[in-house]
């Protein structure tokens, strides 16, 4: 069960410490995933039942809601942390359904500008309101005064992971 044989990264740790840290890191990951899965599953279910809508579609609208003049299509995969190919059929359907428009730029015909329609904006606001209250309902039992603390911890975690990703 020798794990700490490789060169220690910062400070030397004996086997038992290293093992304990491994376990804690794994537990953190499992808790994180469990919380996200739990909340995401419930939000997805409600989006479907109440609005016959999906979260990825809602996420696209949420991005466009903040950009009254529209957004270059290529910005969406970056902001939503998904692949570009993934977005194509989602945007296709949002256009079909009249929530957004997709117009090729005249300056650079590779580029497309996506923009929410008036109806899209209306639909988004209605759904966003429900989304907020669903979240409030799901998180109601978590003490309000600890929300900000947890947000800060997660921000730091996110930063730490990002840094680690940039190094490799």
């Amino acid at each position: 069960m020798a794990v700490a044989k490789e060169s220690p990264p910062v400070s030397p740790k004996n086997g038992a410490d290293q093992e304990a840290e491994y376990r804690a890191q794994t537990r953190l990951w499992l808790r994180l995933l469990a919380c996200a899965t739990l909340i995401e599953g419930e939000l997805r279910r409600r989006f479907r039942e109440e609005f016959d809508f999906t979260m990825p579609r809602f996420d696209v609208l949420a991005q466009l809601d903040r950009e009254p003049s529209g957004l270059v299509l290529g910005e969406l995969p970056k902001r939503l942390m998904v692949s570009a190919g993934n977005l194509t059929p989602i945007v296709d359907r949002l256009v079909e359904d009249g929530y957004i428009t997709r117009t090729p730029s005249n300056l650079d015909r590779r580029v497309q500008i996506v923009c929410m329609t008036v109806e899209g904006r209306k639909a988004f606001r209605r759904m966003a309101k429900s989304h907020g209250s669903w979240l409030a309902e799901l998180l109601a039992e978590f003490p309000t005064e600890r929300l900000d603390g947890l947000i800060d911890e997660l921000d730091e975690l996110k930063g730490a992971v990002r840094d680690a990703l940039h190094k490799s």
Copy 2:
């Protein structure tokens, strides 16, 4: 923008407080999702590149690794928090590839017992080792002494969400 018009759930809150809490809850959810997405994406990438394997397949093996005598198939969707139908093709392929066996119970022919093979166990251990060190690498910059605190917070969050789900 009237939001707090509905009857207040526990203690009365004025509009501004309610708005602030909504925002904090949304931020918490977005951070949680961002952290999980970031880590999951990287782990998935490495599983694919290093082992040509997927995380759902690994998750199934991880459950079976803790059960030397095997597991009733129906336990897997519960423990992994996925739908039963989802598991069928994943288990199919793990059987095809020789990592696990699936044998119908003689007492109740609806039930199937899933059990890891010797080779499955070997492959799992190899992958689990890498999985642990990848996680350690990704979380290296997050201070060790705060791991347990964050785990506790997430445990509480998970409990709060579960409670909210059971109520509805």
